[in-house]
Symmetry: C2
Amino acid sequence: MNEGQMTDGKRRVGVVGAGQLARMMEQAAIPLDIELVLLAADAHDGAAQVVPEVIVGSPDDPAALRQLAERVDVLTFDHELVDPETLAALEADGHQVWPSSATMALAQNKRRQRAELGAAGFPIPAFANVESVADIVTFAETHGWPVVVKASRGGYDGRGVWIVRDADQAKAVWDDAQAHGTVLLVEEFLPLERELAVIVARNPSGETAVYPAIETVQRDGVCNELKIPLLGDEAHAAEAERIAREIATTIGAVGILAVEFFVSRGTLLVNELAPRPHNSGHWTIEGAQTSQFEQHLRAVLDLPLGATGLNGAAVATINVLGPQDGSDPRDRLADALRLPGAHVHFYGKGARPGRKLGHVTVVGDDLNEAFARAQDAASVLQGESR
Amino acid sequence: MNEGQMTDGKRRVGVVGAGQLARMMEQAAIPLDIELVLLAADAHDGAAQVVPEVIVGSPDDPAALRQLAERVDVLTFDHELVDPETLAALEADGHQVWPSSATMALAQNKRRQRAELGAAGFPIPAFANVESVADIVTFAETHGWPVVVKASRGGYDGRGVWIVRDADQAKAVWDDAQAHGTVLLVEEFLPLERELAVIVARNPSGETAVYPAIETVQRDGVCNELKIPLLGDEAHAAEAERIAREIATTIGAVGILAVEFFVSRGTLLVNELAPRPHNSGHWTIEGAQTSQFEQHLRAVLDLPLGATGLNGAAVATINVLGPQDGSDPRDRLADALRLPGAHVHFYGKGARPGRKLGHVTVVGDDLNEAFARAQDAASVLQGESR
């Protein structure tokens, strides 16, 4: 469909980026008769395969972003790597952009996240901006070695993070960052008891909805497993849910906001914000009364938010990664579907070793059983014998 | 995407027709990375709005059907009004067509349905083919007036059915049918205690899966309400589920087969077959472990079938019809989403009075409460004060 064929009665949402998050948004958009329009870097991106109206262009191209904004009621995002100044210019011209340019700027800048959340009274790790190698050493003299040095912008899933054990390592990291023009901050090295994540939604009218906190288990720096409900740390879970809701309101977030937390020395600390549907919320598609993707669309369109309770006693979600032999999990779909209750989600991506190609969710009465079944299905898809 | 860009690893299913059934199939196709290709009569049809690859053409055009078949792994249907001979020619050329041309022929011909199901020992109403007005009168002399005269092909939702009370009415119906070239059959007029429907799925390997029987409540000849589970006639429900599974196996159905039943004078009788996802199965999207749309895709691709149990204690589904004042229910979406647990499905159709525009499903612990909430949401969408 081109814009000349726009049908009355439909809401139109533009999505910058066409990866799996936009793809899962489309699944949620169909029943609500919301039309997505994508700005895809490549016409074969995961979401571009399933959405009829696609603009092929770069998220760095202001003209492409404007073209998208002019076709839709609201602009939103599959990823946060979009220039906030370009978005601010669109807002100034009356376009709806959610999350706002201000939220996108905050999400892209770890220094500002730490500074603003700390100033607002939210619990955060000790940190300092790094303008010289001496700043790292001085911080370490106060807080002890090792310290954690981070890129302020662009790091995720364990990339852009360095554990620094002494002044020599500090100099090496600093020199490398300088060479790449990377802005750094330094934080205390925290003994992690666990990591939590909370998905919160907020609409422009100020309504909020919070999903149950989940524990994110990192393996090789990537979170591949979700178990819901979180068992064994209910007090921190409840506190994390409260803080996530308050952060969403404080920063004026609109859409889904994922808030990641550390629990260290018995204390809950805010780690990172991601203003979009999040890996740690994929369980909600079958596991919650409203999926995070439907919730995101409802929020950015200022529709009332949906209920966030569980659809069963327990939910388990496990990622499907590209097998080392290069084989394609889609070729083993039949074997996975033989396992009762396995909900398979593929992202429309070609198989490459280690690439995140999809996930499996199982909803059940017992968490261990649901987890075992989800793991079985993921293993089958990955061609592993169990 | 055009066929030259076909991506490895994907399964491709061609759908003849682009109405709401194909639209809901697309929602189920996305997570399994199944690509749908549509043959749409109109580029603006409900499913054509959400599927990138659409051939615009008539289901009566053999060349268009062949073009579709050549682009996909399997051909299936949004409606049963496709010429079985054209489909048989495609099968003869090695194309996968599910349901088969034979099943489609059976579904289109009420005379053959009655004759074949009766010959196979399934319980059916007394009937006779009508080749003259005398056949109606003779049948009535045996079974008593009134009798029910039906068009053998094309009737559904109460159209193409006449209650005939005497020889004069019989002549009027006969003359009218002759004028329209309509082939007729006559059946006994049954006092209906209730009507049941069973959705069964079967794949080419012979695996079957049956959803719980539901009661279909007709108002003005249209079924607008579903309540699951069926309460108060468990024996007939179980018998209907058993018969539906046997019919699917007997006729070699592939995909979803909906079997409609009468309960009359304490006896269960098979009424009609529809070899496709069915109105009476829309509750399965949120209410069952596997939606009928996913199940249909799994079946026609010869993938293992999914579990058919309920996701909650109770499920209620109510249609959303176009209000008499011509207003658009999509304009009242916000009010409906304010009701907790209301899952709204729009079919991408413009509002016209009485037109089926969507449905609402509520899953809950209590059937009466779920039904009341679904009814509230449908009423809100229809602009009715309650």
